[in-house]
Each structure stands twice: as structure tokens, then as C-alpha cells.
Amino acid sequence: MIEIKDLHKSYRMGSNSLHVLKGINFKVEEGELVAIMGSSGSGKSTLLNILGMLDGADSGDYILDNVPIKNLSETKAAQYRNKFLGFIFQSFNLINYKSAAENVALPLYYQKVPRKERQEKALQYLERVGLKPWADHLPSELSGGQKQRVAIARAMAAEPKVLLADEPTGALDSKTSYEVMDLIQKINDEGNTILIVTHEEDIAHMCKRIVHLKDGVIVEDKKIEQVRAEQYV
């Protein structure tokens, strides 16, 4: 599903150049649930941004679902993001003046899905994350866990190939974190490919594979025995 070869990225800070990714190689198969771990500054967020086509790499190859992602125009990148990727952010990033259902329906708007169908689909996905009764609530009326579940529903609504989650539990307490992870595991069980950036060991161990980043290179890449989040909920 995802194939990365010798990926390099450096940031220019005035006259200095900061080499963040120093040759990353890895592959993700369909249906995997991968945790990308590392301390801050290890390059994990940069890697996720490149995977999310929010940022471009300096050199190396990135192939997503057999499509090479390189030198994309803004418009093309937007199209691919809409078609291939779903994002889950640490700070939820819901649009605060739109109700839960409208937030979930938004990626469908950019897929040019008609309004009625959008609304139906949005409710369907809200039901899957258990928030159908809150469909008409604004984000400010929801708890942190609920907001993240709306965000997950929104990421799912576009039916992407890959879900990218950047510290999805970073802003939540541990009980809510496990609820969210439980949801993510269930979505993964249905065959969706998910990448999670995290620095929490327990969250990482709820994935099926852990990739350790340090100073811009992968130092460890291992399959693990998945801990089910269900037991903590």
C-alpha cells in the first residue's frame, strides 16, 4: 500500500540546514496498523506530513497505492488527499461553526457528492463511532473523546486508502484514549490501513507493528503482539 525508498528531507533555517529525515525505507501492506514512535525531533511528524502530502520530500520515492507521489501541484495533491487519505489530528481540527454531521460530511463535499447523500453518509459514519444522537451538536458541545470520534468519522467518510493519525490520543485522558484506540482497532479489523504517530508506549502497543525513529533514521521496525484496547474500556 505504502512504499518509501531512501526518503530525505531537510529544513532550511536561515543559513543552517537541518537534516530531519536521513534516508527512510519502509513498506506498509494493506490492513496494517502501524505505530511510528520517536522522541520529539526524531522526524516522525515530518514523515507523517510527507506521507499526508502536506509537505514534499527532497529526494527519494513515495508510492501510494501504486501511484508515485512526486512533484505534485497543489491541486493534484488536494485531489490525492481527498481520494487516498484520511487525517486524524491531535487537536481534532473540527470546524467549530459546523455541527458534528456537517463536519463529517465535509470531505464528501469536496468529492462532489450531492447534499442529500452526504448527509446520509455522515449519519451512517457517526453511527459507527456511536455519536448519532450528537449529530446536530457543535464541537464546543462535545467532550474531547467525542470530538476525536467525530474526527475519526470524518476521516472515514471519504473512504480513504490510508488513515493517518497524528498523536490521536495526545489531548485525551487515558480512559478516553483507550476508547479511541478501541475504535481505531475496530476500524483496522475491517481491513483499513492505519498509521499512528505517537510517543506513548501503551498506545503503540495497541498497534500491530512499531517503527522507531531516531535522529531521522529508522532504528527499529518490529511486528508485535497487539494489545486489545477493549479490555481497558
Binding site: 509537505d55 481527498n82 470546524i95 459546523k98 465535509l106
Partner: protein, 414 residues
């Protein structure tokens, strides 16, 4: 523009951001409101000034004598020139084809005017029948002096409207009442109205009567004429200058005055004055255009300022939309679409409100030099269009920049 989905999305945004929309709309509407009121008062000022100058017939030419300042043909300087009936008749004959109306005038001095037991302190002037047209005096009641009065030296008087209001309060109409001028009863036959109160404090009697009854002999104090209307302004000015020089030259010869003596015979033509005045209104026009353009620029700056704030406020939302797959152009389109919609609605709202205010209040404004402030609808309409277009153009830059900002950066913006 005709994308229904986009419209729905925009109405959603507007409905859920009522305060922001209201404030944006309010500032646009008030900008246009101020502009229209300003333009309206500019026009009002022009109207007012035009009106101040309109009192006398615009083609009138006035002739009055003075004192010679130069020695000429053995005559000493300092000689007082006296116009006589012959001068007027001769001028009338000589320039017959150039003149529309003409009237001599005498200021009758040393007379006592009484109405019943009341002494009146108004000036008495002997004038010809044509004087009505030269002064642009409007008759409210009765009639002005006519040729029959002149020929028959009728003892009739025309009074100003102010005299009527001040003196003839007790009677329904002053027509038919008698006033006493130095013991001679004059019948009031008309009441005239002028733009200025001062000019309504006059009593006109036939010129012939004033000469006969009050020892005027054949002397005149001044003469006035109007010229027929010309095809255009420049021609009218040329005509006036031509006539002025002709009359002056004739009178200088008749009274043996040096041709270059400026003091002895004075001729004033309203047309020449008008030329200066037209220059003045042109400057005023230019000034108000300048003010208007500055206001539009201020409006454009204001609108773009609002746009920048709106975009700034929505940076995060734009980042989210882009992460969800919005193309840059769809972001620009969304922001501009909303901006144009709000600007247009509130712009025309401000336009309609200010025009209505001018329509309602304008005719009641009674201040010197401001009359009936109004605004040309087409001018105001195109101003609004210009403002919307310019605002859109100005809003395009921040919108485009916002759409270009990297998603990560806009999401980082808390």
C-alpha cells in the same frame, strides 16, 4: 457562481457566522452610506451656489456712470457724468437687434413715503416696464408696470413681498391700496418676489412718473439690459462682451470721455461674472470628485482590510478544508464568493438607505449655499459596483495567500 452546492455552503457559513457577516456588511454599508451622503452634499452645494447666482437674469448688463479720471479734449478730470433719457433711447436704437429687454432707472431721493399714518422707510425707484425681466422679479399679485403706465405717467406702485408682509398685514391684499409719496397718492397694483429680502424692500414706480413728479428732469441713474439667449455659453459671453464694449464706447463719445478712462462709464455684465462662477463650480465639482475618489479608496482599503481579517480568522478552517481535499481555487472561490455576496447585499443596502435619506431630507435642507442635496443614481450605482469590484480584487490577494499556505502551518495556527 451558479454552483448550487457552493451557494448552500456559503449560506451555511453566513448563517452560522452572523456576527462576522453583520459587521462586515455594516462597515461596507456605512462606507457607501457616507460616500453617497458626501456626494449628495457636494451636489447640494453646487445647487446652492448656482441658486445664489441665479437671482438676476443671467444675460443682464448694467450701466452706471461715475467720475472721469482723465483729462480729455480740454475737459478736466473729476467731472461727474450724468446719464439722460437720450442716452437710453440712443442705446436702444443703436443696439436694437442685440437687446432683449432694456430699462432705465432712477433712485428717487428725498421723498417721504406713508401708508395711512405709518411712515415707510423703503427706497423708491423709477423703472421701465422691462425691468421686471431684468431683475427676474416674480409677480405674486397684480402686475408689473406696463408701457401704458409709462406713457400716461400713471401714479402706480409695485411693492416687494417683504413690504407687503411688514406693512399690509391688516388688509387681505395690498392691491388697490394707496401709498403716499411726498403728498402724491400712488395706487399699489402689484407685489413682486425676489430671492433676497433686501431686494424686496423696494417700491417701483414708472420711470416717467418719477421724472415728472419728483423733479427728475431727463436724468437717469443707471440703465440695464438683457441680451437674447445665445446658442451656447461661449457665444453668450462673446455677445455680452461685444454689447458691453459697444455701449461703453457710445456713452464715452456722448459724454466726451477718454476711451481709456475706466471710471467714468462702468458696465457690468452678468455673463462675464457667470463665466467666473462657472469656473468656480467646476473647481467645486473637481473638489468633490477628489473627495469622492478618496472616499472610494478609503472604502476599498476598508473592504480589503475586512477581507484580510476574515481570511486570517479562517486560516485554521482553510487548513482543515485543504487537508480534507479542498483545492486552492475552491478556497479562493469560497472566500470571494462569500465576500462578493455580502459586499453586494450590504453595499446596495447602504446605497438604498442613503438615497432614501437624501430623498426624504434633502428637499428640507435650508442652509445658505446648500440646496436640495441629491445624488445621481447612476453615479452612486457605479460607485457601488466599483467598490465591490475593487473590494473583490483587494480580497483576492489575502484569499490566494491563504489558499497557498501550507496545511501544516495553518493547522498550527491556534
Amino acid at each position: 457562481m451558479f454552483d448550487l452546492e457552493r451557494w448552500q455552503e456559503i449560506f451555511d457559513t453566513i448563517r452560522k457566522n452572523k456576527l462576522r457577516t453583520f459587521l462586515t456588511g455594516l462597515s461596507v454599508a456605512s462606507g457607501i452610506f457616507i460616500l453617497v451622503i458626501l456626494l449628495g452634499f457636494g451636489q447640494g452645494m453646487r445647487n446652492g451656489i448656482e441658486n445664489e447666482f441665479k437671482q438676476d437674469a443671467s444675460t443682464s448688463v448694467w450701466v452706471w456712470p461715475g467720475v472721469t479720471t482723465k483729462e480729455y479734449k480740454g475737459l478736466n478730470p473729476g467731472r461727474r457724468i450724468q446719464l439722460v433719457n437720450d442716452n437710453f433711447d440712443m442705446a436702444n436704437t443703436m443696439f436694437k437687434s442685440d437687446i432683449e429687454y432694456g430699462s432705465p432707472r432712477i433712485f428717487v431721493r428725498g421723498v417721504n413715503v406713508n401708508y395711512g399714518k405709518e411712515a415707510l422707510v423703503y427706497g423708491v425707484q423709477g423703472v421701465g416696464a422691462d425691468f421686471q425681466f431684468i431683475e427676474n422679479a416674480g409677480m405674486i399679485e397684480g402686475r408689473f408696470i406696463n408701457y401704458t403706465d409709462e406713457v400716461s405717467t400713471a401714479k402706480v406702485a409695485i411693492i416687494g413681498n417683504k413690504i407687503k408682509k411688514d406693512v399690509f398685514k391688516k388688509v387681505d391684499s395690498p392691491i388697490g391700496e394707496f401709498i403716499d409719496i411726498s403728498g402724491i397718492p400712488f395706487k399699489v397694483i402689484g407685489v413682486f418676489k425676489e430671492m433676497e429680502d433686501r431686494e424686496e424692500e423696494r417700491i417701483y414706480i414708472p420711470i416717467t412718473t418719477s421724472q415728472k413728479a419728483f423733479n427728475g428732469g431727463n436724468k437717469l441713474n443707471n440703465m440695464s439690459f438683457t441680451l437674447p439667449p445665445a446658442e451656447n455659453f461661449d457665444q453668450a459671453v462673446a455677445q455680452a462682451v461685444n454689447f458691453k464694449n459697444g455701449v461703453k464706447s457710445y456713452l464715452q463719445q456722448a459724454h466726451i470721455v477718454a476711451p481709456d478712462d475706466t471710471g467714468a462709464i462702468e458696465v457690468w455684465s452678468a455673463m462675464e461674472e457667470a463665466k467666473r462662477f462657472y469656473g468656480l463650480t467646476n473647481s467645486i465639482k473637481i473638489f468633490f470628485w477628489f473627495v469622492g475618489v478618496c472616499t472610494i479608496i478609503a472604502g476599498v482599503v476598508g473592504v480589503s482590510n475586512i477581507m484580510m481579517i476574515v481570511v486570517k480568522e479562517r486560516t485554521r478552517e482553510i487548513g482543515i478544508r485543504k487537508a480534507l481535499g479542498a483545492k486552492p481555487w475552491s478556497i479562493v472561490g469560497m472566500i470571494l464568493h462569500e465576500a462578493i455576496f455580502v459586499t453586494a447585499i450590504s453595499g446596495f443596502g447602504g446605497l438604498i438607505f442613503s438615497m432614501a435619506l437624501l430623498e426624504l431630507v434633502g428637499p428640507h435642507v435650508e442652509v445658505d449655499y446648500i440646496m436640495n442635496p441629491s445624488v445621481n443614481f447612476n453615479a452612486a450605482f457605479s460607485t457601488v459596483i466599483v467598490l465591490i469590484l475593487a473590494g473583490t480584487l483587494a480580497g483576492f490577494v489575502p484569499a490566494w495567500r491563504a489558499a497557498k499556505v501550507k496545511v501544516i502551518e495553518s493547522l498550527r495556527d491556534e
